[in-house]
Amino acid sequence: MTLLSVQDLRVSFPDRSGGRVEVVRGLSFDLGRERLGIVGESGSGKSMTGRAVMGLIAPPGRVTARRMEFDGIDLTRLPEKGYRALRGARMSMVLQDPKFSLNPVIRIGDQIAEALEFHTRLSARARRAKVLEALEAVRIEDPERVARLFPHEVSGGMGQRVMIAMMVVLEPALMIADEPTSALDVSVREQVLAIMDDLVRRRGMGLMLISHDLNMVARWCDRILVMFNGEVVEEIGPGALHAARHPYTRGLVASLPRLDEDRAELPVLDRAALGAGT
């Protein structure tokens, strides 16, 4: 079943000469209750794609699409008020760094409860129960204690789990995770991904995992879109990273050092040639 359907998505910003630069150029994809990875390097337009779906691109940025439909709702015509009812409830976004995306002066439990307060009419007691449940769902062992803490009192990995708890407390249908583990230590990355993966499977959510980390995305997603210069250059099935055909994807894979590395020099992307090719 298609949850999100995007056709010919374009995002542009004004440039200095009065024209517009397109940072996402005609992107199309369908997302079901699955894990879709979007990979690309800085400036490829991957984050802008996630933000456009969430309705988070403010003027002078401009979003157009032939079609952008989420669960039967036409997002291209949705006013801000309608978006507000969706965000946090039906679709949510996990950002890169818990240090900057949690409010430093509000206790963790209260921050998670805020979404419930905004979107539901639950009693304070029911809200509290939901908050503890959400913290437990992200494998926080002592939810009562953690709910009372401020963001600076928890580690990065714990902070990111709190973010995820906040995003899933209302059981959204779609979760967009933009570099959810890049600010975390290697040792906790896998844990955080496993928690997200588990939530996606158990609750039947659709997940859009946006990252520059090819290998990570390759291991956690059912399908991968590779973006370059605002366009999808290739779609890759599970485990087929090394069978990638597009020169950009192949270049990226080749330029990664390997554990059994014996090359004297790493191959470098020929950007000029790629630019001419696309």
Partner: protein
């Protein structure tokens, strides 16, 4: 080239390094791996003279490091940081950044040295009077490497020099570091959590955990996935997970 023996570092009441010992030969590239909080960056800071409360023995090129080091000794060891966005002064041009160490150490020929260094790190000369925000992440990291090399140091301390960069840019910077090391006979001490980077750039490594060295090994063992300590194996498994 680098000798560290029984190095212990305290920050207030907590001890962050416990009796760390290792040596790095001249021209060798040595890696310190471990997760956040293992103390790997603290070792670099101690060698760079940024830590006050330390005990033990550290020596560079046979000369023991004293509490107050001479200018010449300070010039021998230079550092490259992780974040090229945070480590360059936002209102100083590339030229200012590269010339500053020369002024401090009273060295002549600023022009010639700056231009030669831009060439050496593969930055076009037209970037000389740009500000950091006019450069890409990879170009900034080239500036940071150039700054570290201005005083012709013998040792480069590299603190996660590529983990803030895109994959393809990482390859360019790693190639650059490898080439510079060969050309200038530099000794590298690299801090990273990325084991494949160690395989590419280093000959030996030390595995750190909670401020202690749990294993020192040849990179050949790392390439074969045969670290001997339990914790080393754990790091390998996580890395395999990441790179498979």
């Amino acid at each position: 080239m680098i000798e560290v023996r029984d190095l212990t570092v305290r920050y207030g009441p907590s001890t962050v390094l416990h009796d760390v010992s290792f040596t790095v030969a001249e021209g060798e590239s040595f890696a310190l791996v471990g997760e956040s909080g293992s103390g790997k960056s603290t070792i670099l800071k101690a060698l760079a003279g940024q830590v006050d409360d330390w005990s033990g023995h550290m020596a560079l090129a046979g000369q023991p490091i004293a509490r107050r080091r001479s200018r010449a000794q300070a010039a021998q060891v230079q550092m490259v940081f992780q974040d090229p966005y945070g480590s360059l002064h936002p209102r100083r041009t590339v030229d200012d950044t590269l010339a500053e160490p020369l002024s401090i150490h009273g060295l002549p020929d600023h022009d010639a040295r700056v231009l030669a260094m831009l060439d050496a790190v593969g930055l076009a000369r037209r970037f000389r009077f740009r500000l950091p925000h006019q450069l890409s992440g990879g170009q900034r990291q080239r500036v940071a490497i150039a700054r570290a090399l201005m005083l012709q140091p013998r040792v480069l301390l590299l603190d996660e020099p590529t983990s803030a960069l895109d994959v393809s840019v990482q390859a360019e910077i790693l190639n650059l570091l490898k080439r510079l090391r060969a050309e200038q006979g530099l000794t590298f001490l690299l801090v990273t959590h990325d084991l494949p980077v160690v395989s590419f750039l280093c000959e030996r490594l030390a595995v750190l955990r909670s401020g202690r060295v749990v294993e020192t090994a040849d990179v050949a063992l790392l390439r074969k996935g045969r670290l001997t300590s339990a914790y080393g194996q754990e790091l390998l498994e996580r890395s395999e997970g990441r790179t498979r």
